[in-house]
Symmetry: C2
Subunit: 132 residues, 2 copies
Amino acid sequence: MTDGPDLAERFAAWQDLGFDPHHCPVRDVLSHLGDKWTTLIIASLAGGTRRFGAIHRVIPDISKRMLTQTLRDLERDGLVTRRVFPTSPPSVEYSLTPLGGSLLRPLAGLVDWAERNHPAIRAARTRFQAEP
Amino acid sequence: MTDGPDLAERFAAWQDLGFDPHHCPVRDVLSHLGDKWTTLIIASLAGGTRRFGAIHRVIPDISKRMLTQTLRDLERDGLVTRRVFPTSPPSVEYSLTPLGGSLLRPLAGLVDWAERNHPAIRAARTRFQAEP
DNA sequence: TCACAAGGTCTATAAAAGAGACCGACAGGC
DNA sequence: GCCTGTCGGTCTCTTTTATAGACCTTGTGA
């Protein structure tokens, strides 16, 4: 219940402050989370350290290119660490940083909502499509 | 604290169920939320009903095309209702449905995280850029 | 008569995502 | 020795999305 001010108040406050869209933290952060693969990758690392190939096996329909890129972005933002072992073939381990780990809780709230309301959303879509 | 199972367990459970990527509710739902404008629009409707132009004024750097499209998507998913008044010039009101409203709480959690950790993320970026 | 408002649509262009071939170094089978 | 496979990528090409911004319609008031 102590979620702090709700979105409406918060949004109003931003407006009042002459809010610069390009420095909005929410955009900055959420635009990454929406990057289609980000949430899944974070979820796959929630259980602990994983290697590149392991993540790929767990999310089979991502291309290596996008997997690399998304992991780099997460590393860049300090949510994920990357450790290279100079073996051959190379071995690379990824894991969540404390910062990345701290994202799990709010993310779980959203995932929870998604699972709970998915049926309702699907129903809404069917209804919408059936309209004239 | 009663967030239900955490992401790691949940993810593992999906895996075990022979998890079909294309029917994953999380992808289905979160891919929209990440659509860059979705969260902002929902936030702007958190305070109550707003007209098209009002939303546009509050999020000045969205194109009308994307605003229309994002609102349609939200309407399609049952998160937003659209009411047209056949005046002239036309007048259209948007508001959150109960389903849309129920998203505010988990979303606020994420926004909260984003605000709180934005400095850390920015610092991480600077650090990353400074690397060899 | 003219410009302007609201809530869009349409088009042309730029950015991003996806598929999938390729790479480099080694290990094992034959 | 030679061929094959593994790991963690990168590179190129094509398709998909997003963006900017011009245009449309129907009235109103100056």
